[in-house]
Assembly symmetry: C2
Homo-oligomer: 182 residues x 2
């Protein structure tokens, strides 16, 4: 079934809506999107949405490569296996945001798992901000667990991501402080 | 000499300026204030200050009891010995602000010493904010030393003063975090 839906996506047969994302076009099927995502349901079939009247939907603030993976997940319920290892975390971070935006709970959990099992000094601050902003308690706990290990928090505090954390979620500073207070 | 200046303050003889602070009036001698404080010098003898033309100076944002101690220190170079023990820290906090405002360096050091040697859970956060805002590095270090002891930071984080710290000096959160990071 998932393979067949994947073929449907690739073939574009019966496609009735085109998304423009980051300068690229993606054709898809309204009903497939709508049955999987309550947000697409509202956007594509809701009574007041302009998307209902148009066959072309533009999505801002998302990269084409991320939307491509999102679409694939909607049709096939799985992630591609060829995501570049170096980019895996960044893609997972963007996908988490996209999954939350389109209310794709399983994709969100898959992203949380990818991020939570690969927290490192370079990515911890940004992942923690995402966990906070998108209410991912498990992922937040995973980041806190990492930061509790000797030396990690100090190293993370020297990253650019931590500057972003400070500015976007100052309340996290207090939580971190409560966690490591002697 | 200091006793005689104290007598001069009490007797009001030759007083040529009256301060109105928190509803109370204090008579003083322009020259005494000016030789001790460059700020009073500028305010009372500067070319453009309205205080120069008036015999009455109103000071806002200061409590009468604090101004009274400030005046006494200007004349006698010492603090009264009858400051209520319960209020000592709060008075010293206010006096530190006043000393900085009138550029009374020795009074500032005396206040720093009073505050730094009596840091406790109740007062640590507010004292730390004052140390930061008035560039008192020694006092800041004293607060940090206190907060480094087991259990202290956690206890201080539960105080109202810490809420004030968070809001007025968020950068201190990061410094505290760097200090206690494992």
């Amino acid at each position: 079934m998932q393979r067949h839906l994947g073929d449907l996506l690739d073939s574009k047969v019966g496609g009735d809506v085109t998304f423009e994302v980051g300068g690229e076009l993606f054709m898809a099927h309204r009903y497939v999107l709508a049955v999987r995502s309550s947000v697409f349901m509202a956007e594509l079939f809701g009574s007041s949405m302009k998307e209902k009247l148009s066959n072309r939907v533009r999505i801002d603030d998302m990269e084409a490569r991320v939307f491509k993976i999102l679409l694939r997940f909607i049709y096939m319920d799985s992630l591609p296996e060829d995501i570049d290892a170096d980019e895996k975390t960044v893609v997972a971070q963007h996908l988490l945001v996209a999954a939350d935006r389109y209310n794709l709970q399983r994709l969100k959990l898959v992203c949380e798992d990818m991020l939570g099992t690969s927290v490192d000094v370079r990515t911890a601050a940004t992942t923690l901000v995402l966990a906070e902003q998108h209410a991912c308690q498990w992922l937040k706990d995973a980041c806190f667990g990492f930061l509790r290990s000797p030396g990690k928090l100090k190293a993370v505090m020297a990253t650019e991501g931590f500057q972003h954390l400070k500015n976007s979620c100052p309340a996290l500073l207090e939580e971190l402080l409560a966690m490591v207070a002697p």
